[in-house]
């Protein structure tokens, strides 16, 4: 497949054939829902770890006169990759657990193909903010219900109702440790994206 013919074909035309195209999928959800586990299950390399410094003028809620109006914080990120072909690489980003950082880190969210929001049925509330975030940004997502140790104590309908999920958003039960399950969650996302595109083009 020749992606170099797309409108993004580069000025360095000769190299466009040797460098692959990269796309990004975000793996989100609250703390401890299994984001890095899912990344590790489907990634061709052990999840890599990196950090970013985020700096931003503090928003006008602070009342600390005389304190420098900027703060810097370090956030961590685990990611993996799946090489689809010599032309195409998918990067999977396990997002930092605290959603407030996503607003500061545009580079993390911008250009994402879509997202998987992982939820843990015992602690659904830790993933609410992730769902809100992608809904508000208009980023397509699917929900992966991580059934730890195969425990399926809630039906998909019950979880859907508890999350007040848009009926259009797919929900998939999975075990985040399982490669096949992880693949199926990602496939559900890709199908969802394709359905969204054919719907808008009609």
């Amino acid at each position: 497949m020749d992606f170099a013919s797309s409108e993004h074909a580069d000025r360095t035309a000769g190299l466009a054939h040797t460098a692959p195209l990269a796309v990004k999928i975000l793996i989100a959800g609250g703390f401890g829902v299994g984001k890095t586990t899912l990344v590790g299950a489907v990634s061709e390399v052990a999840p890599l770890h990196t950090e970013e410094y985020l700096t931003r003028a503090s928003i006008g809620v602070d009342d600390l006169d005389g304190v420098n109006g900027k703060f810097t914080t370090t956030v961590a990120l685990d990611f993996g990759r799946i090489t689809i072909s010599g032309d195409l690489v998918v990067y999977l980003f396990g997002t930092p657990g605290q959603e407030r950082f996503w607003f500061m880190w545009n580079d993390l969210v911008n250009g994402a193909m879509g997202a998987v929001v992982l939820v843990d049925t015992r602690r659904l509330e830790v993933s609410f903010a992730s769902i809100d975030f992608f809904e508000s940004r208009g980023i397509p997502f699917v929900v992966g219900v991580n059934c730890f140790h195969g425990v399926r104590d809630r039906t998909a309908e019950e979880i859907r109702a508890a999350l007040a999920l848009d009926p259009q958003v797919p929900l998939v039960l999975c075990d985040a440790r399982d490669r096949g399950d992880g693949r199926d969650v990602l496939l559900a996302l890709v199908d969802h994206l394709m359905a969204g595109r054919s719907a808008t083009s009609v």
Binding site: F3, V23, L48, E52, F79, R81, V89, T200
Partner: protein, 132 residues
């Protein structure tokens, strides 16, 4: 003979000996706005012996990046391998792109965009995932 640093203990083994922004000569913000987490960077072959000499005079981190990127790597992968924060890595990569040692390929913006090339990419991703 004891080296003068022996017995020093700053109590933090993880602390880097060199402060991160020393490597970037104090610069804290990337000058190039086009480098993203998944921009792929590839080392270009050295065009002259002069260029090869210039590489030898670079910061060790610059040379490490050129070594890593003989095969295309995403900016975030380079950061992970260097053990440096992403923004700092972008500054170093920007230097190398500006001076013609690295070539950067921007990712395809896929969000909400529509078009046949988008569908082609999604289909390719789907086919690839099915083989996992």
């Amino acid at each position: 003979m004891r080296h003068w640093t022996e017995g020093f203990d700053d109590g933090d083994a993880d602390e880097q000996l060199v402060r991160p922004y020393t490597i970037t000569s104090g610069r804290t913000a990337p000058e190039r706005a086009d480098l993203t987490l998944i921009t792929l960077v590839t080392t270009l072959p050295e065009v002259s012996t002069q260029a090869a000499l210039a590489v030898r005079r670079m910061q060790p981190e610059h040379r490490t990046i050129l070594g890593l990127c003989r095969e295309s790597k995403a900016v975030v992968e380079v950061a992970a391998k260097l053990g440096l924060p992403v923004s700092l890595t972008k500054i170093l990569i920007g230097d190398l792109v500006d001076s013609g040692y690295l070539w950067a390929r921007s990712p395809q913006p896929l969000t909400r965009a529509t078009g046949p090339s988008d569908m082609t990419i999604l289909q390719a991703v789907r086919d690839g995932l099915r083989k996992l």
